[in-house]
């Protein structure tokens, strides 16, 4: 013990101070809020369900990040824009359906078509990204693809701004999804329920694909060791394209689900969900798909409960403005203190 104390550097002490301060703040804030009884149990349940639906969205987008990172060891900065592309493009289809009444007559089919359009668009953008911007740079030093990704992100944002306009477009309301269901005494908005169920279903589908199909096996093999996988006869380029495509498809689906909860879409909508989804991916352990799913839900719940739980208790006015601060702080804290994430990284190469 004395040896360990003697080995402490100023850095370690500094970090411990930060740890204790954060934990202290969170505990104190939460205790204050709970003691004051400002929010009822129903409020907490609402926050929790909302957090679950947010989390589902983050998880779907996070899967895109984590799959690409697992294979290429690069952060696909432009993945948020892949998400945006799908949602923004599918908006036009949804609007057409809404105006013609198809959306009300046949909501299931209409939504499925809209989702399909969104997914296809996102897949196209993701695959194009890979082909044009990332593939030529596979052997470059790490900084270069990262910067390319940043450039591509801005390029896509402003392309879609030019194509679809700089205004905010609002998805039409889906009449069939208005209102809420009461389950076990708790009211869940129908939109939230759809989001939660669909995201879980998609995650299960992806997991099955990774675990049980041949394609999934080749994806895992390429993630483990690109060169050897190539020697084993796997078409590495094709697998990488498929990875991007899968990530894109999930992001596209997330786009439509996002629109169900926040009907406004615009060219910049991908940035913040993108960063938060990356946080979720890192939280759960980057490279680890199950980790991304859990990380997504965890982040969603914390972000939803957080402002009311501890920020309010600390006496901060308008705590909801700082909702994003919670997400970014979690990102920073996780990366500083727990870079391997909750479930542990599943990277076969050291990321240094």
């Amino acid at each position: 013990m004395r040896q360990r104390l003697a080995n402490l550097t100023a850095t370690d002490i500094f970090l411990w101070v930060i740890r204790i301060a954060i934990i202290g703040l969170v505990v104190w804030g939460s205790a204050t809020t709970l003691a004051s009884g400002k929010y009822s149990a129903e409020n907490w349940a609402d926050f929790f369900i909302f957090g679950l639906s947010q989390g589902g969205l983050y998880a779907l987008i996070a899967l895109g990040y984590t799959l690409v990172y697992g294979i290429l060891l690069m952060i696909n900065f432009a993945h948020g824009e892949v998400f945006m592309a799908g949602a923004f493009t599918a908006f036009h289809v949804a609007l057409a359906f809404g105006n013609s009444g198809f959306l009300d007559r046949n909501p299931v089919v209409a939504l499925l078509v809209v989702t399909l359009v969104s997914m296809v668009t996102s897949v196209i953008v993701a695959v194009l990204l890979e082909r044009v911007a990332y593939r030529p740079l596979r052997k470059a030093p790490r900084l270069v693809p990262l910067i390319t990704a940043i450039g591509a992100s801005y390029f896509l944002q402003y392309t879609f701004r030019g194509l679809y306009g700089s205004g905010i477009s609002t998805y039409p309301d889906v009449a069939a999804l208005k209102g809420e269901w009461i389950i076990g005494g708790v009211g869940i908005l129908k939109t939230q329920a759809v989001v939660i169920v669909t995201s879980i279903a998609l995650m299960v589908a992806l997991y099955s694909l990774l675990r049980f199909t041949k394609t999934g096996k080749s994806m895992r093999a390429v993630a483990q060791d690109k060169e050897v996988a190539g020697l084993m006869g796997i078409d590495v380029d094709r697998v990488i394209t498929i990875t991007f495509a899968l990530g894109g498809a999930l992001a596209g689906a997330a786009g439509v689900l996002y629109a169900l909860i926040y009907p406004q879409v615009h060219f910049f909508m991908g940035f913040v969900p993108g960063i938060k989804a990356f946080t979720a991916a890192v939280l759960g352990g980057i490279g680890n798909p199950v980790g991304a799913m859990l990380g997504g839900f965890f982040l969603g719940i914390v972000e939803s409960l957080g402002p009311s739980l501890f920020l309010d208790g600390l006496g901060i006015p308008a705590p909801y403005q700082l909702k994003d601060v919670i997400a970014f702080s979690m990102l920073v804290l996780v990366l500083i203190f727990m870079p391997a994430g909750i479930l542990g990284e599943q990277l076969y190469e050291k990321k240094a």
Partner: protein, 575 residues
């Protein structure tokens, strides 16, 4: 990335090379489709329309049309590059075909948008665009002209490199200068003396036809003249006796000094203001250059230090209710100090992170600072969304630095100081330690370089410069707005040092001029600024990752793989 289709081109016949008998249809078609894709993109994103509002040559050709012309010529040129080994006529014909495909795709757009209203989805596919593309003529006639234009211009682009040197030498710079003068009309008109600008420029926009001809002829003539006389001038200069040579050098240096010193007076208020903004970005660029270029720590939250510097300056000097009313000179050290402290605080937790993670964490920090600064929670201190107002101008020995022309000198001085510091640091032990850390942290540590100390120093130095830049920015603007402290600023500064050349000081200046100065001068392009930045970043990373004015070692390291196929035995190898 360049696929070699040499196998298709070269046909070995009894051991001799013979020119390929068949065109490479696929190459031509591919280039045509790519050209068409770019043309469609440029039209649908709205560039053709927006740029089309201003003319290059008044009444003759608009900027939007020039854009399309350049695209088709560019792809025609690419055809020549890819189809080497064919006869010139074949190449030009192939280019014409590619051009036809490209403009054909545009014609497709024109034809489709007549029956189908694309506007509800693609906002730019409007009748105005169609009219511009068909030159205001009927659909049929306009489409035909479009097709012919595409083919002809691509053929022209292909023919240009094939022209004899005598013609090519003067032609290209002449065209480039004409285009430049036309595009930069807003900048040049106030600077040039009245009679010249009146003659050169059309009343409404762009060059006058006569003015264009004059510029073309002048540049062409100058190029020819220089080609003939330039060599002899250089020889004469070299042949001077050494003390006269020295005098010549001093004259040139002295002349540049005078030019820089009197630039605000020469250029007028608007351009001085632009130079001032460029200067602030150069300052930030130099700081980030230390962090990213020397030490290799990718910091995406750099704007946080800028914000801290600006806010501290604002709070300390503001004469409003949030401020203390100090003077600029008293507040500057505190600004810089606050930024340095922030740099160290940020640096400590991220000491062990590498590459991507470091980038994301710093991005997170930057965003946290931005949100905090905007929030209501800190409004009593920092003014919330309104920021801090009433930041007074700088007074130096009783003399107020009021206009952009005077502020220029302060910024110039700050930049020179920063350049001096950067160079001394780079050439010192600390600088060498940074470069060792940049190359390979583990080896650097093994060799005995203290990682903690040096990384923190890098962060601190970078933060100091950003803090200074923020402080100057606050006084320049007269207020501190939280909305100027966005992530994009960090990205811009990163872009400019990458485009200019990481780790290279002249590169920072080039990058800043190019990426911050140019958009100010070309207001028509303002809407598409970030689109260009994004595309430029991607393109530069693919083609020239070391930047425009790189440090030599950087360039060698980034292109290391390319020249390795050296035939013959390596030195010292056994037989």
């Amino acid at each position: 990335m360049m696929e070699t289709t040499m196998n298709d081109h070269v046909h070995v016949d009894n051991g001799h090379y013979a020119p390929a008998k068949h065109w490479d249809w696929r190459e031509v078609l591919k280039l045509g489709l790519m050209g068409g894709g770019v043309s469609l993109f440029v039209s649908l994103v709205g560039m053709v329309d927006t740029f089309g509002k201003k003319d290059v040559i008044g009444g003759v050709i608009s900027q939007g049309q020039v854009l399309l012309v350049l695209i088709w010529m560019g792809f025609g040129y690419l055809v020549t590059r890819r189809m080497s080994g064919h006869t010139p006529s074949r190449t030009v014909a192939g280019a014409a075909l590619a051009g036809l495909v490209s403009s054909g795709m545009l014609v497709g757009l024109v034809l489709i948008s007549e029956p189908i209203n694309l506007r509800s989805v693609l906002v730019e596919a409007s009748p105005a665009l169609v009219e511009m593309l068909t030159l205001g003529l009927s659909t049929a006639l306009g489409s035909v002209i479009l097709l012919v234009a595409g083919a002809a211009l691509a053929a022209l682009g292909a023919a240009l490199p094939l022209l004899p040197e005598r013609i090519r030498r003067p032609l290209l710079p002449a065209l480039a200068w004409t285009l430049g003068v036309g595009v930069f009309q807003d900048v040049l008109a106030p600077v040039l003396p009245r009679p010249i600008s009146g003659f050169l420029f059309d009343n409404i926009s762009g060059l006058s036809v006569l003015g264009a001809i004059v510029v073309l002829a002048a540049v062409a003539g100058a190029t020819v003249l220089w080609a003939r006389q330039g060599e002899s001038v250089r020889q004469r200069a070299d042949a001077l006796p050494p003390d006269q040579k020295k005098m010549l050098r001093w004259a040139i240096i002295g002349g540049s000094f005078l030019l820089v010193a009197f630039m605000p007076q020469l250029l007028g208020k608007f351009l001085s203001e632009v130079l001032g903004t460029v200067g602030i970005y150069i300052l930030m660029g130099l700081g980030l250059n230390i962090v990213v270029g020397y030490a290799g720590l990718l910091d995406l939250g750099y704007v946080a230090f800028f914000a801290i510097g600006a806010y501290v300056m604002g709070v300390l000097t503001s004469t409003g209710e949030l401020g203390f009313g100090w003077s600029f000179w008293m507040a500057v050290p505190f600004s810089v100090l606050a930024a340095v402290v922030a740099g160290v605080i940020l640096g400590v937790p991220v000491l062990q992170m590498r590459g991507d993670y470091l980038a994301i964490v710093t991005l997170g920090f930057g965003e946290i600072i931005r949100i905090l600064v905007l929030s209501d929670a800190l409004r009593p201190l920092l003014g919330g969304p309104q920021g801090i107002l009433a930041v007074p101008k700088i007074t130096l020995l009783g003399w107020r630095l009021s206009g952009p022309q005077q502020l220029y000198y302060l910024i110039l001085f700050a930049c020179l100081a920063a350049v001096f510091i950067s160079r001394r640091l780079a050439e010192s032990r600390v600088g060498r330690a940074w470069m060792a850390i940049r190359e390979d942290e583990d080896v650097a540590e093994a060799v005995g370089i203290g990682l903690v100390k040096h990384k923190l120093m890098a962060f601190a130095a970078g933060a100091a410069m950003a803090g200074l830049a923020g402080a100057i920015f606050a006084t320049k603007l007269g207020s501190v707005y939280p909305h100027s402290m966005k992530l994009e600023v960090s990205i811009w500064v990163l872009c400019l040092i990458i485009v200019g050349g990481m780790g290279s000081i002249p590169g920072v200046a080039v990058g800043a001029l190019f990426m911050m100065g140019l958009p100010e001068l070309l207001r028509t392009f303002a809407e598409y600024r970030l689109l260009f930045y994004g595309a430029l970043l991607v393109a530069m990373m693919l083609v020239r990752p070391e930047g425009l004015w790189p440090e030599e070692s950087r360039r060698r390291e980034l292109h290391a793989g390319e020249n390795n196929q050296v035939a013959g035995r390596p030195p010292g190898a056994q037989t």
